[in-house]
C-alpha cells in the first residue's frame, strides 16, 4: 500500500526524511511530475497531531528542492502502478499547478471579533431574521474585501472561505512569495494594531494547500 504526501517536479530529488510509521520516503516518476510517497504493509492514517505533523514535515522537506503540491491527508493507492497512472492522468494539470506555486508559500489568516458578541436570541420576525444573518454575512465580506486588502496586495493569490453561517471568524489563505513572508507578517501586526475591535492570527509558512486543488479551472 502506498501513502502519498506531495507532488513535485519530475526530476526533483526525493527528500531525505522518514514518513508515517518511519517509512522510507520515495519518488515515483511519471512523464510530467513525480509523487512523493512511502510504502506500507498496512497504513492507518489517523488524523492525530503527531501523524498530521509527520505528513506536514514530509511535504515541507519535499519543498526544499523546488515547488511541491501537498496532497490531501489520507491519500493512498494500492501500489506504485496505481499511483503512476493517476500521476500520468493528471500530469499536465499538476505541472501547471507546480508552476503556479513555484517560490511561494501559504500563509493562513483568521480574523474574529475582539469582543465576543452576546449570543442574542434570533429575532422571531422572518424579515429580521434574514437581515441579522445578512448583516453577519456582510460584516465578513467587508473584512475580507476592506480590512484584509493590504494583505491581498502583498500576495500572488488569495483564497477565502465564506464561512459557516454561525461563525464570526473569517479565514483566508494567501499565496505569498517566500521572501515576502516577513513583510506580510509585519503587515498583519500593523493591521491588528489598526483594528482594535478585531483579533487577527497568522500562521505559516505552509505548503500551498489552498492553491493546489485540481477542481477549479486553472
Amino acid at each position: 500500500m502506498i501513502y502519498l504526501y506531495a507532488i513535485i517536479e519530475r526530476l526533483a530529488r526525493a527528500p531525505a526524511c522518514v514518513g508515517l510509521n518511519n517509512g522510507e520516503v520515495l519518488a515515483a516518476r511519471a512523464s510530467e511530475v513525480a509523487g512523493i510517497y512511502s510504502r506500507h504493509e498496512q497504513i492507518e492514517a489517523r488524523p492525530e497531531p503527531a501523524v498530521l505533523w509527520r505528513h506536514e514535515q514530509v511535504v515541507e522537506a519535499a519543498m526544499g528542492t523546488g515547488p511541491a503540491l501537498p496532497v490531501r491527508f489520507g491519500t493512498t493507492f494500492a501500489d506504485e502502478n496505481a499511483l503512476l497512472s493517476s500521476l500520468e492522468r493528471e500530469g499536465q494539470r499538476l505541472s501547471q499547478r507546480l508552476d503556479r506555486v513555484r517560490g511561494c508559500v501559504e500563509l493562513a489568516i483568521r480574523v474574529g471579533q475582539a469582543e465576543a458578541r452576546p449570543r442574542e436570541q434570533p429575532p422571531r420576525d422572518g424579515r429580521a431574521y434574514v437581515e441579522s444573518k445578512l448583516d453577519r454575512l456582510r460584516r465578513r465580506q467587508a473584512i475580507v474585501r476592506d480590512t484584509l486588502r493590504p494583505l491581498g496586495d502583498l500576495a500572488v493569490e488569495t483564497s477565502h472561505a465564506d464561512g459557516g453561517s454561525e461563525s464570526e471568524v473569517v479565514c483566508a489563505s494567501y499565496l505569498v512569495e517566500s521572501d515576502q513572508v516577513d513583510r506580510f507578517s509585519e503587515s498583519v501586526t500593523h493591521l491588528a494594531e489598526r483594528n482594535p475591535r478585531l483579533w487577527l492570527s497568522c500562521t505559516g509558512p505552509w505548503p500551498p494547500y489552498s492553491f493546489s486543488g485540481l477542481e477549479e479551472a486553472a
Binding site: Q57, Y129, V130, K133, A161, G164, A192, P205
Partner: protein
C-alpha cells in the same frame, strides 16, 4: 516542530473558547463513543444541509427582487429550521461543538 505561529491571537476570553471548539470539532476527542457517533453523524448532516440551504437563501435575498412577503416567509422558514435543529440537539444532549460542524472545515467549503 518549529513554531508556525507568526502572529498569535490574544489569549483572552473571546478567542480561546472559539479555538478550543474549532479544535474539538476537527479532531474526534472521543474515539470510543461510537453510538453517540451515529447520532452525531445524522445531526451533523442535517445541520450541514440547514446551513447550506440558509446560505443559498441569504444569497437569493441579497441578489434582490423578492417581495417583502417572500422575504418574510423565507425568514420564517429559516427560523423554524434553526429552532428545530436546536430542539434536536437538546433532545440528544449535543452542542455545536459535538457536531463536527466544520468537517475540516465546513467554513472553508461553504
Amino acid at each position: 516542530m518549529t513554531s508556525k505561529t507568526l502572529v498569535a491571537p490574544p489569549g483572552d476570553a473571546a478567542v480561546r473558547p472559539e479555538l478550543g471548539d474549532a479544535l474539538s470539532r476537527r479532531i474526534n476527542t472521543d474515539p470510543e463513543g461510537v453510538e453517540r457517533g451515529l447520532v452525531q453523524l445524522v445531526l451533523t448532516i442535517v445541520e450541514l444541509l440547514r446551513q447550506l440551504m440558509e446560505r443559498q437563501a441569504l444569497r437569493r435575498v441579497d441578489a434582490g427582487g423578492l417581495s417583502d412577503e417572500q422575504v418574510e416567509r423565507l425568514g420564517q422558514t429559516l427560523r423554524l429550521l434553526a429552532d428545530r435543529m436546536d430542539e434536536l440537539k437538546q433532545e440528544f444532549g449535543l452542542e455545536d461543538r459535538d457536531l463536527n460542524l466544520d468537517l475540516g472545515p465546513l467554513g472553508r467549503l461553504l
